[in-house]
């Protein structure tokens, strides 16, 4: 088990290295100079070729890409110094992901500030995925073919056929603008450590939107998986032993039925942790998703690159966790 985890972690590191390299190359080797946005910004849109050259030299973009990638990677571990168009030298401590073109603050500092907001959204939303999705899916599977089952399946199909951004927007519009429900209408991120109640009410709408929309998928998955599992031979064996239905469903069937659901969940949870653009934008939560959206609009390349690398890292960690959970659930996976 330990060797397995180490192996997975090592391969995860390799993947992160490859992702960071591709992101780096994408900007470095692109048709326009990566220094162009900062040059435009710092010179008030009067970026001459001569000025651009100064920026490129200071930022090291005139070096070969491998040298510069080396500097970038070294910066992550030991920190580095960054110079833009003038003589000011910015100190970028490890882990250095560059300086924001826009705010002239280390990217990692900004990222660190936004992680709690995005993680709050992700954890609450994902918890609702499972807390709503799995029980409803299991209940539908146990009543397969009945009116309850059909009503659940078709109403969830309606929800999931609406695009998510529209669903979230309508929800926001109705609950905050139309009905002006107190407390939860004031959406946004408020640190949990300062005011847990405010944190909760600020997040509530985002969670509900994500949770209700996302749980439809999990209802479908867990229903399908459960229906399949309930027809397995070992479920018949469990019944033939004289076990009560509760034990048969929750101990024998659910554990097997969850395996495919967990796989999908792990990956989706990773995506959520890396920031949710629509949710954060609509509910005014200053998280990684919202931040990356602003960075793209402002052509803040170091931030965009950092978000890409961060997302990849989170997804890879989520994948490794899924594999570990998987092997805990299914003993047959442990040996291989």
């Amino acid at each position: 088990m330990f060797a397995y985890v180490v192996k997975r972690l090592l391969s995860g590191v390799v993947v992160i290295a490859l992702v960071s390299l591709s992101v780096f190359l994408l900007f470095f080797k692109g048709p326009s100079s990566p220094a162009q946005p900062i040059c435009d910004r710092d010179t008030g849109n009067r970026c001459t070729p001569a000025r651009l050259e100064i920026f490129e030299r200071n930022l090291g973009f005139d070096n070969p890409w491998y040298t510069e990638y080396g500097t970038f990677v070294k910066g992550i571990f030991v920190g580095r110094e960054i110079q833009f168009g003038n003589a000011t030298i910015y100190e970028c401590p490890a882990p250095c992901l560059g300086y924001s073109y826009r705010t002239k603050v280390p990217v990692f500092e900004e990222l660190k500030e936004r992680i709690p907001a995005s993680f709050s959204v992700a954890i609450g939303g994902a918890a609702l995925y499972l807390l709503l999705g799995i029980p409803i899916g299991v209940a539908a599977a146990r009543r397969r073919g009945t009116v309850t089952d059909k009503a659940l399946v078709s109403s969830f199909l309606v929800i999931s056929s609406v695009p998510y951004y529209l669903f979230a927007l309508l929800m926001w519009l109705f609950l905050t603008v139309q009905w002006e429900i107190p407390l939860i209408s004031d959406t946004g991120y408020f640190p949990f450590t300062e005011n847990p109640a405010k944190w909760f009410s600020g997040m509530a709408l985002a969670w509900i939107a994500l949770g209700i929309f996302g749980c439809t998928t999990y209802t479908r998955y867990s229903r399908g998986s459960m229906v399949e599992t309930l027809s397995e031979d070992y479920i018949r064996t469990a019944k033939a032993k004289g076990l009560p239905p509760r034990t048969v469903v929750y101990k024998h069937a659910l554990r097997s039925a969850l395996v495919p659901v967990i796989t999908i969940f792990g990956i989706e949870f990773g995506t959520l942790l890396a920031g949710t653009i629509f949710t954060e934008r609509i509910f005014n939560i200053d998280g990684i998703g919202y931040w990356s959206l602003q960075a793209v609009t402002a052509k803040d390349l170091p931030v965009v690159a950092a978000v890409a690398i961060f997302s990849a890292t989170v997804l890879i960690i989520a994948n490794i966790l899924v594999d570990i959970v998987y092997s805990v659930l299914d003993p047959r996976v442990r040996l291989s």
Binding site: D233, A240, K241, L243, S256, L329
Partner: protein, 362 residues
């Protein structure tokens, strides 16, 4: 009871542990009602083995699942009577039914790899079966009992293997573990549903021997569901042959295998391969396929496949379902066939084809 008590000569209706009378099981489907079992009656005494033989879809498993009450009440209709140790099982509440399941009636399934839960240790699955009917026992007792049972069914180093998962067992060991799980509560009735199907021949023999030993030890009634007449010859005291959901021949094992009176049974006997038999003996398959239970053939369900139907006057076979009634060989041997003297046909026409050496000697 006018149809007497077939099978063992000493049988009376009182000492049979399992009595099935006029059992019918149907499943409503979108295409109509599928009657998987109809008018089935049989009985099994403690210490005896009933073999149920038939093709796939003949209702063997469906009828025995009904004994355990494993059919979903919403999607099946069950009529008739099933008495287990004097208790009427049909219509019994789910709670009381559960007290019987795995306790006084246990079932061993075919393909133990699929029938054991892949995620739980073998020992835990055995303990669970024990604990559910011994609520006052501790987990430690249950574990000790599991090891004892694994040892009893011949698993080497049971105290270590108890912590293995099913996929770490060999096929034969899994089936042994399955048997151990079935017997852990000393059931009075054991239903073995093709227990040797997924195993290779040497392991099959070991498993059958084991079952026989255990039956002697526990003095339980056993129902052996199989399509293998070799297994029947070895194990069964009585035999019930099923076709299209009905019993078509019922009698003691020796009687039925030496003087079969139903052309379907002849067909089964003719299609058995035997390594020791004369090489001139032919392997004769039964023509055609089992009928659809959605629209069974009129009259005798076997008539479209029966090569002897022209020996019956008129088209009685196609119009009238023959009753399951005694033939010329006494009240203990029931057959569902219109042929007036089937034994004569068997001895003169069928036996010379399938076992020429037997005929020459007699």
């Amino acid at each position: 009871m006018t149809t007497a008590t077939p099978g063992s000569d000493s049988a009376t209706s009182d000492d049979a542990y399992l009595v099935v009378e006029d059992l019918s099981v149907s499943f409503p489907t979108e295409d109509g009602m599928v009657t998987a079992v109809s008018d089935l009656s049989y009985r099994v005494e403690l210490g005896k083995t009933l073999g149920i033989v038939g093709e796939s879809g003949s209702g063997k498993s469906v009828s025995s699942m009904a004994v355990l009450g494993l059919h979903d009440a919403k999607s099946s209709q069950i009529t008739g009577s099933i008495r287990v140790g004097g208790t009427e099982v049909i219509g019994l509440s789910e709670n009381r039914m559960r007290k019987l399941r795995g306790n006084s009636v246990a079932m061993i399934f075919q393909d133990a790899l699929a029938a054991l839960h892949p995620f739980y240790k073998v020992g835990d699955q055995l303990s669970e079966a024990y604990l559910v009917h011994h609520g006052d026992s501790s987990k430690r007792d249950a574990r000790r009992k599991s090891i004892e049972m694994l040892d009893r069914v011949g698993i080497p180093q049971p105290d270590r293997r108890v912590d293995d998962f099913p996929h770490q067992f060999s096929g034969g060991m899994r089936q042994r573990a399955m048997i151990a799980m079935g017997l852990i509560n000393d059931p009075k009735l054991l239903i073995a549903d093709e227990p040797t199907t997924a195993l290779d021949v040497t392991v099959q023999a070991q498993i059958l021997d084991l079952l026989q030993d255990l039956q002697r030890e526990f003095n339980s009634a056993v129902i052996m569901i199989t399509h293998d007449l070799g297994v029947i010859a070895e194990m069964a005291d009585d035999v019930l042959v099923m076709y299209a959901g009905r019993g078509v021949e019922y009698g003691s094992c020796k009687e039925l295998l030496t003087h079969p009176e139903m052309p379907y049974t002849w067909g089964l006997l003719s299609s058995v391969a035997d390594v020791t038999s004369d090489t001139s003996a032919r392997l004769i398959p039964i023509p055609g396929n089992p009928p659809s239970l959605l629209s069974p053939p009129s009259g005798c369900a076997f008539h479209p496949r029966c090569v002897h139907r022209q020996k019956v006057p008129g088209d009685l076979c196609a119009t009238t379902m023959p009753p399951l009634s005694p033939g010329k060989r006494g009240d203990a041997h029931l057959k569902r066939c219109h042929l007036p003297d089937p034994d004569a046909i068997y001895q003169t026409e069928v036996l010379p084809e399938i076992a020429p050496d037997l005929v020459e000697r007699t």
